[in-house]
Amino acid sequence: MTMSIAPALTVEDLTIDIDGASVVDGVSFSVGAGEVIALVGESGCGKSLTALALLGLLPDAARIVRGRIMLDDVDLVPLPEREMRRVRGSRVSIIFQEATASLDPLTAVGSQIAEAYALHHRVSRSEARTKAKDMLVAVGIPDPDHRLGQYPFELSGGMCQRIMIAIALICGPRVLVADEPTTALDVTIQAQILDLMKRLVAERGTGIVLITHDMGVVADIADRVAVMYAGRIAEIASVDDLFARPCHPYTALLLAAVPRLDLEPKQWLATIEGKVPAAGDFGDGCRFADRCPLAGDRCRVEGPPLVELGRGHRAACWHADRVAELTGSAA
């Protein structure tokens, strides 16, 4: 929960360019063992690119131009692909939204899990298979002997996501990157998967970088939250601080835009006018300025730095002290 010991993964000043535009710009955060940090934001905010960068899986057009990704004491950014392959799947792994699409349709799931282990360990087939079976039990799949021989099409979406989690965790990675892991699932299945992730984090001490747009999922599972807007971190805080005292106008409006079970039905929800600036049109000022009800002259010419406002609570806004005005008591 806290950042007392050395974090498992530290991202410093990560900057990713596509066609000369910084679509991820100066992003820094860390995740400790057994901690869940959520990267939140709307489409195009750079959260998924950040996630892919952690695995060395950026698309060809994207380039890391600055920054470090420290996994314990190794910087992953300059690692050649050969060495990155040893890290990927073993010390950092990833699960995606479409679990069914991430699995090989022509290979039994047992072999896919065993392969993930055998790639990084010198073991016999039967040892790898035993490991795979133990892992199936760990991710809560009943009747593992039978399931090992099944193919992805024979399994439901929730079951496939459990298989993906088994593959991702079988080597005991320091960090699991989870890119919208429950978005495609029904709520009752989502609840099962979130509970599973919480349990595995606690048992194994794996740190999770969770990419999501769903504030409910964030509230359920995250310890800390980084809100991203147009490639930058707008605000980062513990989950309780962020929901109780948002200090960036974007965070405050985003939270007030979500219909909640404890608010008056049919009331007017907060909205954010305009749209995210296109990459390349970012300018020098705050990237949220054009849509921000608090924006003044300074905001348009000078980008605000992320400053510490409380213990571990940082926001990038010149008017952080006025954010509470935006939503009145809603925050």
Partner: protein
């Protein structure tokens, strides 16, 4: 659900699909996508229809707008029967019921200007031509928060939220009494979703339109609905007014569904005791006998495997189909 003249009256509606071409022509079991559903929607009201994938909610909405014929039962829109109706009657009734879908990009012709898209229902019905038509399109655009000059642009020139506004404008062109909304905000970003929900609420207040609002998201359903119906494997298992439902959901499935919704409030979320359902949804080709939910239900006893529970009224007015709730 208020007493007089409901806009939509659905009685014992069932939709069964018989798959063709089994193994060597052997018949395969029918998929009972919807199996005996009743509800009504009054003028200016919203019924939120909730359920998970495969529960039949989309089939039911397609049936109500006349895209899928019901196998059994009656669907009346403003008193007019559409089950088994002739093409002519259907054509007349459809003016009063419109539909919007999850993905507005798929609902718009990419080669037609949005002005043409919105004008089309008016032209088809011979309601307006020439300048009157243009004026009507401008008014509709204004009603959904777009500008008159947008009429000459194409769908790809708009964002997802704006396209959903365009689709809503087209749905409103004929001044329908009922709009069936099938997951209209599920594909949208949070801030845009709020804009569309605000728009739907606002249009209902101004025009008195009724909504059948199909969604898997209970927070959204609570926000927009006056009444709530929960579907499981083709049947409604609980139906109640919004406040009664959210104060005390009774069916074990409804309770599990509500407890599974992650709330955007970490303190409340931690305090919540989650009813985690074991297992997964059975296939609709093979609905369990008795209560369809008994295979996953924490309260199930022997009677549940034998007898299908009927929707029965409870003291607070909720209708619940459960032997034990």
């Amino acid at each position: 659900m208020t007493g007089l003249d409901p806009i939509l009256d659905v009685r014992d509606v069932a939709v069964h699909f018989t798959p063709r071409g089994g193994w060597f022509g052997r018949p395969r079991p029918a998929v009972k996508a919807v199996d005996g559903v009743d509800f009504t929607i009054g003028a200016g009201e919203t019924l939120g229809l909730v359920g998970e994938s495969g529960c039949g909610k989309s089939t039911l909405s397609n049936t109500i707008v006349g895209l899928v014929p019901p196998t059994r039962g009656s669907i009346r829109i403003r008193g007019q029967e559409i089950a088994g109706a002739t093409r002519k009657t259907l054509h007349a009734v459809r003016r009063h019921v419109q539909m919007i879908f999850q993905d507005p990009a798929l609902s718009l012709n990419p080669r037609a200007t949005i002005g043409a898209a919105i004008a089309e229902p008016l032209i088809v019905r011979g309601i307006a031509t020439g300048q009157a038509l243009d004026k009507r399109v401008d008014t509709l655009l204004a009603q959904v928060g777009l500008r008159a000059e947008h009429a000459s642009r194409y769908p790809h020139q708009f964002s997802g939220g704006q396209r959903q506004r365009i689709v809503i404008a087209r749905a409103l062109a004929l001044e329908p009494a009922l709009v069936v909304c099938d997951e209209p905000v599920s594909a949208l970003d949070v801030s845009v979703r709020a804009q569309i929900l605000n728009l739907l609420v606002d249009l209902q207040r101004r025009m008195g339109v009724s909504y059948l609002f199909v969604s898997h998201d209970l927070s959204v359903v609570r926000h927009i609905s006056d009444w709530v119906a929960v579907m499981y494997l083709g049947r409604i298992v609980e139906r109640a007014s919004r406040d009664v439902f959210f104060a005390a959901p009774k069916h074990p499935y409804a309770r599990a569904l509500l407890s599974a919704v992650p709330e955007a409030n970490p303190v409340a979320q931690r305090a919540k005791r989650r009813l985690v359902l074991s297992g997964e949804l059975p296939s609709p080709t093979n609905v369990p006998p008795g209560c369809p939910f008994h295979t996953r239900c924490p309260l199930a006893t022997q009677i549940c495997a034998r007898e299908r529970p009927l929707l029965t009224p409870r003291p607070d007015g909720a209708l619940v189909a459960c032997h034990h709730a």
